[in-house]
Amino acid sequence: MAAGTSSVGDRKPTRDLSSAVVRFAGDSGDGMQMAGTQFTDTSAIIGNDVATLPDFPAEIRAPAGTVAGVSGFQINFASTDIHTPGDRVNALIAMNPAAFKAHIEDVEAGGIVVVNDSEFDKVNLRKAGYAEGYNPLEDAKFTQQFKIFRVPITRLNAESLQSTGLGAKDVERCKNMFALGMIYWLYDRPLDTTIGYLEDYFGKKKKLPQVAEANVKALKAGFFFGETTEMFPVRFHIARAAITPGKYRKITGNEAMAIGLITAANLANKNLIYCSYPITPASDILHTLAAMRNYGVKTFQAEDEIAAVCSAIGAAFAGQLGATGTSGPGLALKSEALGLAVMTELPLIVVNVQRGGPSTGLPTKTEQSDLLQAMFGRNGDCPLVIIAPHGPADCFDAAIEAVRIAFRHMVPVIIMSDGYIANGAEPWRIPDAAGFEAIEVNHKIDPETYEVYRRNEDLARPWAIPGTPGLQHRIGGLEKQDVTGNVSYDSANHQKMTNLRRAKVEKVADHIPAIECLGDPAGDLLVLGWGGTYGSIVTAVENVRKSGRKVSGAHLRYLSPMPKNLGEVLKRFKKVLIPELNMGQLRLLIRGKFLVDARGLNKVQGKPFLVEEIEHAINLMLDDKWGPSESLEPQIASLGAEEAGG
């Protein structure tokens, strides 16, 4: 019988839970991302709802064993609908002292901590920055607060792979699978998905059948270790969620963005030309698309961010779907070219996967601090369309929506993703491929009446493409005369064209849905958010509503232009709270545009909001305890890895 069905004959009690949060943490070289991804896949496939939060160091090879080199992967899996990767960790797997140190603060009181005891030696404790002679595993502060299980994972893994004939290095690399096997046992998960993956990845793709076999062996050894030893007194079971029936796959935001762009190109009967310069955390979009040439996708790795956006603009001018992807620093470099796209009124897609800023900032950590840059970061009055997906799977729909808008309105569109949704994964119910509405593009233009800036009812100019006889025309960054498109320095014309560019973007609001409230349409408090904070805000609002309080949520997907009914919705609430992973950028816009006294919960700690942080802020506002300040920071749960512990 496969280990995956070993629930039969269990000798230990199983406890049912509705959800659990597990975090794998270890050195960057310990394979924690793979372990976490596998745990996610397995949990999704057995029918749990899942949400993930990968967390990796900015340095590819930070010194081994140090806190700077710790890589983590958190999974929330549940038998109910969930929207976040979870606030508190129920079970932490720490593969070395640095991982313990970096993550222990996030574990709930009484939580499970499985440590790789083999690595808690003098050298590693020192590397993690603990004082000489100190071992946190012997410190009552930790042993009393957590259920710490000391498993010599490195040694047990090596022993179980003795007969494989693999070198010591290869054997050691399997220890993540030993750990994963143990946690599979602890949470009653089958092994078959991961076994299939290992055989496919190491066996078929990398042509290393021996390595595949060893990994499978380590996985099983970990599982059996959980089963046979008396170490864990109880195991847990999380039943499948009541998920809408259908075919699913697990998807990250970057994957969803990539396939959304291809789908959009297909729907518009265009080729996708994706021009990008490698940048964290957007590069995976480029990687995904580069492997999809058979979809007619041409990827172009440009020499810099400016060349990336400019080549995408060139592709749009030539009549294809020109798109570029980047992150904050790259968006800054693209500013001038975005102005050109606004001026030439070409359809252009810019994916901005936000990360911690300013400057190089926190490349691998999430933030929402590019909103004002996207809105205003260009010379001149330079409006464009901005939309923000609210979760990993939503990136797919946002990409299609962005292309639809760009083509219909002849306007650049910035899609504001972020590091959290780009790398985070969730189950995605695969839509029906035949169910999409085509994206209309009109290139049939009568040369007799053609003029470069003759606008239609949406104020969009015609998209005449090179190669078409009779439609030769010149465009550029200089101001152009209305209708004819000839260069014009006329002052009245400049005013008119500036107004038209603004009105054109505002017209997009005719085609977007009204914003809806989660909860009642009126009440004491509206929690307004945008982008990747959706999950934590929704969960917090739902939780507080359960106590009967009059709080509702609303989430902005369209930031430029905003939905037409937003002002009216804001007026229906006594107070407005805007939680953002920045210092109040949407708040500035909302206060300025609607003159409401919105308050902000503002966090820039490289991490998404905890649900409890938002709940706390909601309650402060409802209890009239917020005080006079326009914004508050959530209390920092831990002082960060560097200061904590030892």
Binding site: Y248, R249, G296, G314, F317, A318, G319, P466, G476
Partner: protein, 337 residues
């Protein structure tokens, strides 16, 4: 409709209805006239031709061509043009830039379009000055040059556009002068080249750097200051065609034919396939050496957009043309319910 049945176009067909607004006497006029003629001669179609430029006097060029045109932003024409060509390899893409646009603010892009061998014709109008911003020194201005931004003389060394192009792996490198008789034939050869063709054109800025290239245009003396390169022919120059270039101890020197027994066979012979020779020639500067004109280097190789298109074709052959259904259902899927 077959190409052959299309009407034959003339230079006039390539002229747009816009008034040309360069300063009177600007070298750009002569280049514009020749480019229009060459376009017609090459049999290019107005609707299939795209002119892309950056910013600067020369970059106004697209407005004066009755083709598709994109007057973009400073220095970025190579990137815009690359995007155009990738998106539609059937288009005939020409790029016009200047010494400031192409070598200063856009130097990076120029290097990369050349090394990628995107099939685009690049005309760099070199007037050794910033014209549009009213007369500051440029990356090709000579050391000591006094301008508004260098009143005590420029303390920067100029760069050679051709040396840069060669170092960037350009597959076609040539030079000519705005008013020279060979301008048209060199543009024609550039137009026929498959791959990035880089042509430096000495251009007189009548207002801010007048006569900077007089040594290459003065009827009486120019043949003493330039060498007209011809593939397979010895490097001979001079009004009397009595001077030549010889290598001595790996160094070029000017010799007089007939003097001290110097014969044609002793001279360097031009070879368009010889990259080292091309580089050596790109280092010849007035007044020490006559400045070479013509095609320095030409090498036939696959163009970037062809290789990219081929990858799309190969992938499609190997895996079949992707459909939305296949795309959505890829990866590990599972069924609930």
């Amino acid at each position: 409709m077959a190409e052959s049945s299309l009407p034959v176009l003339t230079a006039k067909d390539f002229a747009s209805d816009q008034d040309v607004r360069w300063c009177p006497g600007c070298g750009d006029y002569a280049i514009l006239a020749q480019v229009r003629k060459v376009m017609a001669k090459l049999g290019n179609r107005i609707e299939k031709t795209v002119f892309v430029s950056g910013i600067g006097c020369s970059s106004r060029f697209p407005y004066y061509m009755n083709t598709y045109g994109f007057h973009s932003i400073h220095g970025r024409a190579p990137a815009i043009a690359t995007g155009v060509k990738i998106a539609n390899p059937d288009l005939d893409v020409w790029m016009v830039t200047g010494d400031g646009d192409g070598l200063s603010i856009g130097g990076n892009h120029l290097m990369h379009i050349l090394r990628r061998n995107v099939n685009i014709k690049i005309l760099l109008f070199n007037n050794r000055i910033y014209g549009l911003t009213k007369g500051q020194y440029s990356p090709t201005s000579e050391e000591g040059k006094k301008t508004k931004s260098s009143p005590m003389g420029s303390i920067e060394l100029p760069i050679s556009p051709l040396s840069i192009a060669l170092a960037a792996e350009a597959s076609f490198v040539a030079r000519t002068v705005d008013v020279d008789k060979d301008l048209a034939s060199i543009l024609e050869r550039a137009g026929q080249h498959k791959g990035s063709a880089f042509v430096e054109i000495y251009q007189d800025c009548n207002i801010f750097n007048h006569k900077a290239f007089e040594y290459t245009t003065d009827k009486d003396t120019k043949e003493d200051h330039i060498i007209r390169l011809e593939h397979g022919k010895p490097l001979i120059f001079g009004k009397a065609r009595n001077k030549g270039i010889r290598l001595h101890n790996h160094k070029p020197e000017i010799v007089e034919l007939g003097k001290d027994g110097v014969k044609e066979d002793d001279l360097l012979f031009h070879d368009e396939k010889d990259e080292s020779l091309a580089y050596l020639l790109s280092r010849f500067t007035h007044p020490e050496f006559p400045e070479p004109m013509g095609v320095f280097y030409k090498y036939d190789d696959d163009s970037y957009e062809d290789l990219l298109t081929k990858q799309v074709e190969d992938a499609t052959k190997a895996r079949g043309r992707g459909t939305i259904a296949a795309l959505l259902n890829a990866g590990d899927t599972y069924t609930v319910g």
